[in-house]
Amino acid sequence: MRDTFVDTTTALLADDPRTALVLADISAALFAPAAARHPDRVLNVGIREQLMVGVAGGLALTGLRPIVHTYAPFLVERAYEQLKLDLDHQDASAVLVSVGASYDRPEAGRTHLSPADVSLIDTLHGWTVHVPGHPGEVAPLLRTAVAAETSAYLRLSVLSNDRPLGGDGALQVVRDAGPGAPLVVAVGPTLDASTAALADLPVTVAYTNRPRPFDTAGLRDRAGTDVILVEPYLAGTSSRVVSAALADRPHRLLALGVGREELRRYGSADDHTRWHGLDASGLRRSVLDFVSPVLH
């Protein structure tokens, strides 16, 4: 996904003189050709994340469209007040693009895990959040985000599904079990494990790579009584949105995702997927526990 991001951003910088890129050393080498062509619009401030976001706010105030990129915890957690004040409070906007996701590099330990990034962005108002499930989804999502005027967060990961799904962020039904069936909403890279886990069960599986704004109209169209969220970041991040969308109906919600506990374990990303119950067998176990009383 990062390579696609680099190629697409390099093309955007060449095509649109309003576009600027702000870096804090991460990925700077990959953008060296773009920096050589556009030295005034490819700005590497060094390992200075507060300044990176402040600079983005200032660029936006002068009319540019900044793309801001680094590792997820440094972009969202370290510079959170800059997001709140240097962008939102100034009525300035930017496109943030992170790498690292919840546990792309777990051998690096807690400092490089960022399961709370989408929750933190969700405390802000009016942001679009894109969580691509495949490298092939990155370019159109990035182009859409940069072409818009509002702020967006694009969360890249080394984890992905086998195939890209297009679409505009509306819920896409991948497997339809008919009216009233439990609805599983899989976000981004969790889709393949979700479909594998539930292949023989009478549940509908829908996909989105745009959890904000959440497709609440599509959710209301598709949801029966039971809704299961599968998110690749903190479990429950989208619970409030689903609950509000279905407030006028009796419903049950199971929110799966990354746990809050610090595991203090290294290993691989696949290990962490399993430990958080987001692999196929873990998902199947959780979903069966939730829907079994209904199915029987």
């Binding site: 507060q50 300044l51 976001v53 402040g54 600079v55 200032g58 660029l59 936006a60 105030l61």
Partner: protein
């Protein structure tokens, strides 16, 4: 410093330099019999020199892309700022009478979305210089080489580490269209041995440290950039009362 001495200093310092509305009575309208902190009085002279003699900004062209930018980073120094903006007719003086009220656009910290002429919303210390660096970079990237970006900070505000990210980056990359102004009323808890300017100069800025009450000295310093490097003006005023 006694209250009486302070007031006398301000009325004298706030005398208008041209035919526009005097600043001192406007400041009194904002004050509305409340006690101001010394931070209000520490900035009033710099603000007057900027708006009367330095900044290329006009109330009828607050969105002109080629205007100079003034970013008040220490947003609590707001009363004098509002008085100076009202004197320059960025907004009606009667806005001053209800500052902080439920229908007022004038908070205890300024909001750029509510007050014409205000370039940034500030209040949390340590945000203005980063925004100023970004503004200077954005102007340069668009070939707008005439406008200059001025950011006003306090010596205590320099405690915030975000400033030092901006100081070093702007200095080492030679961001020539940026001026920082540090009001030094010796209020930083642990001080700045050698003076605030030293923190900038070591990274390649040009610097001038002047009497923050001397309008001609301020004017000379505020127009003293060399066109190749960022510039800092340290305006020294009376130490903040303990």
């Amino acid at each position: 410093m006694t209250a009486i001495t302070t007031t006398a200093t301000i009325v004298e310092a706030a005398a208008p330099l041209d035919g526009r509305q005097p600043v001192a009575p406007l400041l009194e309208r904002v004050r509305a019999s409340r006690e101001f902190g010394t931070n209000v009085y520490s900035t009033i002279d710099v603000l007057q020199v900027l708006y009367q003699r330095v900044l290329r900004v006009h109330p009828e062209a607050v969105d002109d892309p080629d205007r100079d930018r003034f970013l008040l980073s220490k947003g609590h120094a707001v009363a004098g700022y509002y008085a100076v903006l009202a004197a320059a007719e960025f907004f009606p003086a009667d806005w001053l009478d209800d500052q902080g009220g439920p229908a007022s656009r004038l908070g205890d910290h300024p909001d750029r979305m509510l007050v014409p002429g205000v370039e940034i919303g500030s209040g949390s210390l340590g945000h203005g210089l980063g925004l100023g660096v970004g503004s200077a970079l954005g102007l340069r990237a668009q070939g707008r080489l005439e406008p200059r970006v001025y950011v006003l900070l306090g010596d205590a505000e320099l405690d915030e580490g975000s400033n030092h990210e901006a100081i070093t980056y702007a200095g080492t990359t030679g961001l020539a269209n940026l001026t920082a102004i540090v009001i030094d009323n010796a209020s930083a808890t642990h001080g700045w041995p050698g003076g605030p300017a030293a923190r900038f100069v070591v990274d390649g800025w040009t610097a001038a440290t002047v009497d923050g009450r001397d309008h001609d000295a301020l004017h000379t310093a505020l127009t003293g950039h060399d066109g190749n490097r960022p510039h800092v003006v340290v305006a020294v005023v009376e130490p903040k009362e303990a």
